[in-house]
């Protein structure tokens, strides 16, 4: 049986494991440097930078979702940014991803966020189909850009 609950500080080791598994699935493990300490500090300190949900199947760790707030000046309201949603390989095809996604949508609805936003890798066709089916709008014209590392340092000067 599936249960979904809000993550607490006790879940930091579980979240660390799941984040690394997601990074492996997304082929980004070489860029993944998060530690359990980072998760404790940023998720469960006095002013949390994110919130997380844990999915369990018959008491076994099955997946997670992680989100934080963004803001729209045009709306004058916060939106919910879903950074991660992940189900472990052995627990897929049982509706767990859908249930997690619905729970995040329920949080966004109940807490009066104006919108829920997320990104998907363009080769992940099953995920893209899944989201379209649910009435998600595809913001096709937008590209994400970022400055980091040496370029960030150079731009600062």
């Amino acid at each position: 049986m599936l249960t979904i609950r809000a993550a607490t500080a006790n879940d930091a080791p579980l979240l660390n494991t799941l984040i690394h598994e997601l990074a492996e699935y997304e082929r980004l493990v070489h860029e993944t440097i998060v530690t359990e300490e980072d998760i404790l500090r940023d998720g469960f300190g006095p002013s949390p930078k994110f919130r997380a949900l844990i999915a369990e199947w018959d008491g076994q760790l099955a997946g997670y979702a992680l989100h934080f707030d963004f803001y729209s000046t045009f709306q004058g309201r916060a939106g919910l940014f879903l950074e991660d949603i992940f189900v472990r390989a052995q627990f897929r095809k049982q509706g767990i991803g859908k249930a997690l996604f619905k729970r995040v949508a329920a949080v966004a609805w109940e807490e009066e966020y104006f919108c829920m936003r997320w990104e998907v890798l363009d080769w992940n066709t099953p995920a893209i189909e899944f989201y379209k089916q649910w009435g998600a709008e595809f913001l096709n014209e937008w590209k994400a850009a970022m400055l980091l590392g040496d370029a960030l340092q150079a731009a600062a000067e």
């Binding site: 707030d69 709306q75 919108c115 009435g135």
Partner: protein, 158 residues
């Protein structure tokens, strides 16, 4: 001469004017009120930060950013949501100066990166960002679920 300063509660009306100008320029609907800005930008737990750009002491634009989070980095990033420069002062390198300002803030306060979005048909902007050394994440698609769709999903849960 250009100066960039952090907005405070006294700038709420100015910020509202600039946001309306920006929305008009982008031909997008705008609902925000002065009260929204005061509550969300300048209360005990701000949801965003704003910068006012001035040219010889006159306001000519604004930028708005907030903290985003990368679970893979285990670190916050600066997410630049809006940069607006009044038409009278475009082409003076103000956008570049705003990004430099945020890059310096990111380096100083240990944010992993500065991030933003760009429209894929805006070739001059893309060229400009590439010249700054920015990485364009071409393999990512952005999705949004607005309130009606959110409710459909949430109701389905019950």
């Amino acid at each position: 001469m250009l100066s960039i300063r952090q907005a405070d509660a006294r700038d709420a009306s100015l910020l509202l004017t600039l946001i309306h100008e920006f929305a008009e320029f982008e031909r997008l609907p705008v609902k925000v009120t002065r009260e929204d800005l005061l509550r969300d930008g300048f209360g005990p737990q701000p949801k965003f930060h704003a910068l006012i750009t001035e040219w010889n002491g006159t306001a000519i634009g604004y930028a708005m950013f907030f903290e985003s989070y990368s679970s893979f980095d285990g670190c916050t990033a600066i997410y630049l949501e809006d940069v607006y420069v009044r038409s009278s002062h475009r082409g003076k390198g103000i956008g570049r100066a705003v990004i430099a300002h945020l890059a310096a803030l990111a380096v100083k306060e240990n944010y992993s990166s500065v991030r933003w979005q760009v429209l894929d048909w805006n070739a001059p902007a893309i060229e400009f960002y590439r010249n700054l050394g920015a990485e364009l994440l071409d393999d990512r698609k952005v999705f949004a679920l607005r309130r009606e769709a959110m409710l459909r999903m949430a109701e389905n849960l019950r």
